[in-house]
């Protein structure tokens, strides 16, 4: 299988400009700047069926085409490197192993949308990635791939790297914009969408790191080549971060049509110590959990959606037969309660409440009515909030209770019964 995103990962000093240039680095950029119009670049990306790899899977070319050309305001590209979704660690790999692929993708994107300033919002905990990306940025400036008159053409671009401060919600694109503007990371009301009113009130494209890393290869090898790699509506490969109870956890670049079973058993070496599989989260903690018998699902955006879960960030978390699902649910709920930004009342109050109930059940203080109430409470959060965080609480926690109900029931049965005190 042909590697795209990880093609340089095994080279020594893969993060250096020298290494990148040896393999035809920045040639795609030269082609774009010297021989393509903005519309041609966007058209090429559209044809490639590249879909946003941050989690939502929105067609990238279409996103770029939403930037209003007539708007006299400056346009911005913001790249989301706030990889905070638990179980996801692929952007970190790209930033550390092939930062120039990201930079080249960004410069091409800026040319396509008419931006002269770009930002990389990088997760605050990623200090090593930040350091490497900063080094790459410096190299790119020195080699005139950034700054005034790039590669001797009339195109100019400046780039700023901005580390976050550790809030999961700042990975939500409008919260990220707020944070980048120096405010508290609260998601914005939509519409207007960032393509019209984004960073500092100007038209803005927000793309994920991994998406950016795919841009230059598409230009170099052509949209048809890329589109053919994936499924019908979903071009290319993507990176899957595999963690949990597998023999070989890590980041794997695989085509989008692959099944979850193949990833776990053929690539990640199967379940740890030969144990049986109990459950898998296929796309970061926000994605509804799958039971062992559901893992023949294909890993593209549309197939996972049909299976009642989502591709999300490609963070696959594998749980073997020894896993306590009540504890797993409680830990997921604790994460959401901790990371809810607190703006909307259902999510702010609901995420904490759900965690307290699950914690109580886990600690052996559960009551039969908890299981009756939990789905209703969880459902009241999703769909009733400004951003998708609320939906994530509903989908994630709801799926544990729905699919592993017997484990919750058993836990409550064995609990210290205090029905006598609280009927």
């Amino acid at each position: 299988m042909e590697k795209i995103i990880t093609r340089h990962f095994d080279l020594p000093q893969s993060h250096r400009l020298e290494t990148y240039l040896k393999d035809g680095g920045y040639e795609a950029l030269r082609r774009v700047l010297t021989g393509m119009t903005q519309a041609q670049v966007i058209e090429e990306i559209k044809k490639s069926n590249l879909r946003g790899l941050g989690g939502a899977g929105f067609p990238t070319g279409m996103k770029w085409s939403f930037i209003p050309a007539q708007n006299p305001k400056p346009k911005y590209l913001v790249v989301n490197g706030d990889e905070g979704e638990p179980g996801t660690f692929k952007d970190k790999q790209i930033l550390e192993k092939d930062p120039h692929a990201v930079l080249e993708g960004m410069i091409i994107t800026c040319y396509a949308i008419g931006a002269h300033k770009a930002y990389v919002y990088i997760r605050g905990e990623y200090t090593k990635s930040l350091e490497i990306l900063q080094g790459a940025l410096k190299e790119a400036y020195q080699a005139k791939y950034l700054g005034q008159g790039i590669m001797g053409t009339g195109f100019s671009l400046d780039m700023v790297i901005h580390p976050g401060a550790g809030a999961y919600i700042c990975g939500e694109e409008t919260a990220l914009l707020e944070s980048l503007e120096g405010k508290k990371g609260f998601p914005r009301l939509k519409p207007p969408f960032p393509a019209v009113v984004g960073l500092f009130g100007c038209p803005t494209v927000i793309n994920n790191i991994e998406t950016m890393a795919c841009v230059a290869p598409i230009i170099s090898k052509g949209a048809e080549w890329y589109a053919k790699l994936g499924s019908e509506k979903n071009g290319g490969n993507r990176l899957y971060s595999v963690s949990g109870h597998v023999e070989k956890p890590g980041v794997y670049e695989l085509p989008l049509g692959i099944s979850l079973r193949e990833i776990i058993y053929n690539h990640a070496g199967g379940i740890l110590n030969g144990r049986g599989l109990k459950a898998v989260i296929p796309g970061g903690i926000s994605a509804p959990i799958l039971k062992a018998q559901e893992i023949d699902v294909k890993m593209d955006f549309d197939s996972l959606k049909s299976a009642g879960t989502m591709a999300g960030s490609g963070g696959i978390m594998v749980m073997d037969e020894t896993t306590d699902m009540v504890r797993a649910a409680m830990i997921a709920a604790r994460f959401f309660a901790h990371e809810s930004c607190g703006q909307c009342s259902p999510c702010r109050e609901g995420s904490g409440w759900v965690y307290r109930i699950l914690k109580r059940i886990y600690e052996g203080q559960g009551q039969p009515r908890d299981l009756k109430n939990l789905p209703g409470i969880v459902n009241n959060i999703g769909g009733n909030t400004i951003c998708a965080f609320g939906d994530a609480v509903t989908m994630c926690v709801g799926s544990y209770v729905a699919k592993f109900r017997e484990e919750f029931e058993a836990k409550i049965r064995n609990s210290i019964r205090d029905d006598a005190i609280r009927p």
């Binding site: 809030a167 919600i169 508290k184 009301l189 309660a337 901790h338 990371e339 809810s340 930004c341 607190g342 703006q343 909307c344 009342s345 259902p346 702010r348 109050e349 609901g350 995420s351 904490g352 409440w353 307290r356 109930i357 109580r360 009551q367 009515r369 908890d370 109430n373 409470i377 009241n380 959060i381 769909g383 009733n384 909030t385 400004i386 609280r422």
Partner: protein
């Protein structure tokens, strides 16, 4: 203009209007916490969600603009379910201390719970404890973080209305708290407004706290007399429990919405300037420190004035009127004194206050514009006082101005010795009362029916909340009694009749009447 239907009612509204505002037009009130008509939309409380046909999810009415052909349901089972869910979430960590909460009775959590909640509690867990419970955040307001539902109305008020940026929301999730930014105090001249806009008991008024349960309060429309802006207010009072607070009747003032004058706001200077209504009042007429009946007191004035007027020496009467008086009061001053030739002015030589760029004006008189029209400026108040000191007057008639504060004891003592009759007509006791020969108790604005003209030349109506304290009478009424005693009955039955006569006679007021002025006021022509 888009046409839509809300709960089956058809309406046409301007382009871009939100559902919540459109619904208001047809009398449908959609529950809301964070939305306030004068503040930017936050969209965070989520209780205003309504069902919009063809939309998969309920939408927030405060942010969603109407579109042509839109069909909105504000009371469908789905909407009621969402509302109940949001209420349940808001109450998860809200203390149930309504019996000791000052907001009880005017709390939106209580109100909507009674309308839409009424579920059995599903909460079996501990509530989140927040650090700060009931602490002063400035001279006027107390904050209780646990009661706060984080609607951010106060944050947006201090951001967009006062631009003082005192408030912020700190931390995340259900540990979020409303607090002041480090080193800040809520100490701006509009701080009291955050209590008005707080939908729950998180921000309460230090002046009003625990004085009176709100359901005892009666409410009367009025105009703030604190400066020439004439902010529309409501006087909130209680006479049912005279054992409380030294018989005070007025418990608090609240701003009353008027889009042309004060929007939804009023300043703290005006808001807390009401204690004089019930404190330190002149309760009966006093002649040389002896209580006197109204009949006798009127007789004293009439008997002194009559020979002066008959001898055509009305210029021996000096009158210091006041722009604190209503248009009606000033019209009687004009009829009784000005038109007979007395020396009259209203521009008490006092230092102007400090104004700001919002509502508070440097001119602390509520009726300067009216007095200019009714009394005019052909005589100087300073001249009147100078002449009084020189002994040029036989009578000096002062309305409400504290001359001792302005001129000092010596000068006022000198004046009192030089005139035959020194009348002080006012509502509250001050040092000038000690020097005046005759003190006539007049009513305060909250006891008056009348009109005031603000700095925008707007004639605005005030209504009497209750009867005057003691034997006090409205200023125009006292003057009309004197006129009658002088053998010139004016025949006004009430202030409305005075105003009708004024409208006929004083240019600018032509065509006005109480009915036409109503709630919104009328601008002088």
């Amino acid at each position: 203009m888009p046409k839509l239907s809300i709960d089956g009612k058809q309406l046409e509204v301007p382009e871009g209007e939100t559902i919540i505002r459109a619904a208001k037009r047809v009398g449908i009130s959609i529950p809301h916490y964070c939305w306030h008509p004068a503040l930017p939309v936050a969209g965070n409380c989520r209780i205003c969600m309504v069902e919009v046909e063809k939309q998969p999810k309920p939408q927030i009415a405060c942010y969603t603009p109407v579109t042509d052909g839109m069909v909105v349901k504000t009371n469908s089972p789905k909407v009621l379910e969402v509302r109940r869910a949001v209420l349940e979430f808001l109450l998860v960590n809200h203390p149930l201390d309504c019996p000791v909460c000052d907001q009880a009775g005017e709390c939106k959590l209580q109100d909507y719970y009674m309308d839409h909640g009424q579920y059995d509690s599903r909460l079996a867990d501990m509530k989140v404890k927040k650090e700060k419970k009931a602490f002063a955040i400035g001279p006027t307001v107390m904050l209780d973080q646990e009661r706060c539902i984080l609607c951010t109305r106060c944050v947006r008020f201090t951001e967009h209305i006062t631009h003082t940026h005192e408030f912020g929301v700190f931390n995340r999730g259900d540990h979020s708290v409303l607090d002041l930014y480090p080193g800040k105090k809520l100490d701006n001249n509009y701080s009291g407004n955050v209590v008005d806009i707080c939908p729950v008991g998180a921000l309460t008024d230090r002046d009003f706290r625990f004085k009176c349960r709100v359901w005892y309060l009666e409410k009367t429309r009025s105009i703030c007399p604190g400066c020439s802006m004439g902010c529309n207010i409501t006087v909130e009072w209680d006479k049912s429990r005279p054992h409380q607070f030294k018989h005070a009747r007025v418990m608090r003032l609240k701003p009353r919405h008027n889009p042309d004058v004060n929007s939804y706001w009023m300043c703290d200077k005006g808001r807390y300037n009401y204690h004089f209504i019930d404190e330190n009042r002149i309760l009966e007429p006093q002649f040389k420190n002896d209580v006197m009946s109204w009949d006798k007191a009127i007789e004293v004035v009439a008997d002194t004035i009559r020979p002066i007027i008959q001898a055509n020496r009305a210029d021996k009467i000096g009158v210091l009127a006041s722009a604190q008086l209503t248009n009606e009061d000033l019209f009687l001053v004009r009829q009784l004194f000005k038109e007979t030739g007395a020396q009259v002015d209203f521009r008490v030589p006092e230092k102007p206050g400090e104004g700001d760029e919002f509502l508070l004006k440097a001119d602390r008189n509520p009726n300067t514009a009216g007095a200019l029209k009714i009394i005019g400026t052909d005589v100087q108040a300073e001249e009147i006082l100078k002449k009084a000191r020189q002994g040029a007057f036989e009578v000096l008639y002062v309305f409400g101005a504290d001359l001792v504060k302005l001129l000092g004891t010596e000068v006022v003592g000198e004046i009192a010795g030089k005139v035959k009759l020194f009348v002080y007509q006012g509502s509250n006791i001050n040092e000038t009362c000690l020097w005046a020969h005759l003190n006539l108790p007049s009513s305060v604005y909250a006891e008056k029916d009348g009109t005031l003209t603000n700095c925008q030349q707007k004639v605005q109506r005030l209504w009497p909340a209750f009867l005057p304290l003691g034997e006090a009478k409205a200023d125009w009424e006292i003057l009309s009694l004197i006129s009658e005693k002088l053998g010139k009955p004016l025949g006004y039955k009430n202030s409305s009749a005075v105003f009708d006569a004024l409208a006929k006679k004083v240019p600018g007021f032509a065509g006005m009447s109480y009915e036409k002025i109503s709630d919104s006021g009328m601008v002088l022509s």
